[in-house]
């Protein structure tokens, strides 16, 4: 199980994470990011892609 932290001060709701890792990140009807803090290990590649692709680099893995 991995854990995600999103810096909400940096997050600009572009939604690239929701494209890269739709099993973990999604945009609600108002265009605001929602995500699961914990995710299964099988989704790690997807989550790392979301971290990489974030235009403002606001996503981090928590230890």
């Amino acid at each position: 199980m991995g854990n995600i932290h999103v810096d909400r001060k940096l997050c600009d709701n572009h939604g690239q994470c929701a494209i890269a890792a739709p099993d973990v990140f999604r945009m609600n009807d108002d265009g605001i990011l929602e995500f699961d803090e914990g995710f299964a290990d099988t989704l790690l590649d997807e989550v790392e892609e979301a971290i990489d692709v974030c235009p403002v680099q606001a996503i981090f893995l928590k230890d």
Binding site: D12, N13, H14, Q16, I19, A20, D29, G31, D52, V53
Partner: protein, 398 residues
């Protein structure tokens, strides 16, 4: 649409329309949006930020050829199938396959090559005390960054630059007149791309383009046609924009010489320099969206199909969001939208940010007091802007 006639009006197709003008500043002061000759223009930061990412708006450039009386041909076919205008899962699938090659970790490895390239180009003119900045730096830098990404020989540069500029005519107000040239250039680019794809499929290397060719996810991969379309987009979207933005950066620093000195003393501000230039003087002057349904935003009813232009420079210098809107490399400013935003956020922004943030401090370290020497020529502000020719004089720094 319920737009009152007191709303400011901007003729954005007029070649003399100026983004950085009193007219625009007054319009922004008066209202968050303006009427234009097609659709509305959003002028303020907060509204641009929200609408750029709004699910009520889709990418609005799909109809650009049709708006210009072009309804078929090679460019038309490419344009209507490329990532820029695709929506929904069609867009997301291709974006997921392209993303890994553009990741910041991959791009960071190229930093030493960007630095060496900048040093080489500067050394060619540094002893002359003058240069034509576009011809001698911005264009060769942008083109050769592309040859580095594609892993092709730099002798290909003139061909790539010519084809990219010709295809770029499609974004200008004279698109229809240039259609034959544009389609011929797309045809040449296709042939070039197809040969390159075949080569990398047979002989994959460690380069960026090999990574694209080999990219797969969950058993899915890009077809040859999708790869070709992506390569054309890379050339089309990556070259002119970087060249123009570097030219605009030099203009910005010539207007703000104390910022140039600061950058020369503190090269680690290269990244901030890119952000500040793009906030105050972006090459992409607006991002186009289209209403996918009727909706009301603030006081405005926006009808389905309405074109919405999100103005980048105007939003990036909005006094409501930036109390001191002037370029300032030491300021902690909110993000600009020079790379667009939302699902269509520029795919290549990590490359552009990385290459320009190396180029600018290296230039500042070698060149003092850059100034215009006359004969500069400019693209109009409508669409993608920047200098076509930028002759400058300078003092060589010792």
């Amino acid at each position: 649409m319920s737009i009152s006639l007191e709303t400011p009006y901007l003729d954005i197709s007029d070649p003399s329309f100026a983004m950085q003008s009193e007219q625009l500043r007054e319009a922004r002061e008066q209202s968050w949006y303006a009427r234009t000759n097609y659709g509305i223009a959003v002028l303020r930061y907060d509204e641009v930020s929200k609408l750029l990412k709004s699910p009520k708006l889709s990418q609005g450039s799909g109809k650009w050829p049709d708006h210009n009386g072009v309804h078929g041909g090679l460019f038309y076919d490419w344009w209507t199938k490329n990532l820029l205008v695709l929506e929904g899962e069609d867009h997301h699938r291709i974006r997921r396959l392209l993303n890994p090659a553009f990741s910041p970790r991959m791009i960071k490895e190229l930093t030493p090559r960007f630095q060496a390239l900048a040093e080489e180009l500067i050394s060619n003119f540094i002893d002359d005390g003058e240069c034509e900045f576009i011809r001698d730096f911005a264009e060769p830098y942008a083109t050769r960054v592309l040859t580095i990404l594609l892993g092709i020989d730099e002798s290909e540069c003139p061909t790539i630059a010519r084809l990219a500029s010709t295809v770029g005519l499609a974004l200008g107000v004279t698109f229809k007149r240039d259609l034959e040239k544009v389609d011929a250039a797309v045809g040449e680019l296709y042939e070039y791309a197809e040969a390159l794809i075949k080569d990398r499929q047979k002989n994959p290397g460690e380069d960026f383009f090999s990574r694209l060719v080999l990219a797969s996810r969950d058993g899915d991969r890009l077809s040859d046609e999708e790869l070709r379309n992506a390569l054309v987009l890379l050339i089309f979207g990556g070259m002119d924009t970087t060249r123009n933005q570097l030219g605009l950066a030099m203009q910005s620093f010539m207007r703000n010489p104390e910022q140039w000195e600061l950058l020369a003393e503190r090269p680690e501000l290269g990244g901030k320099a890119v952000e500040e230039v793009m906030r105050t003087n972006p090459t992409v002057t607006w991002v186009t969206r289209e209403a996918v349904e009727d909706f009301t935003y603030q006081d405005l009813f926006i009808e389905k199909g309405t074109t919405v232009h999100l103005f980048t420079q105007s939003s990036g210098t909005d006094p409501k969001a930036f109390p001191n809107p002037e370029m300032d490399l030491l300021a902690e400013n909110p993000p600009h939208y020079g790379f667009g935003g939302g699902v269509h956020h520029c795919l290549g922004h990590f490359v552009a940010r990385a290459d320009m943030s190396e180029a600018l401090p290296l230039l500042a370290r070698r060149i003092a007091n850059p100034h215009l020497t006359g004969g500069d020529e400019w693209l109009p502000d409508s669409g993608n802007t920047g200098p076509i020719r930028l002759p400058i004089g300078f003092t060589k720094r010792t």
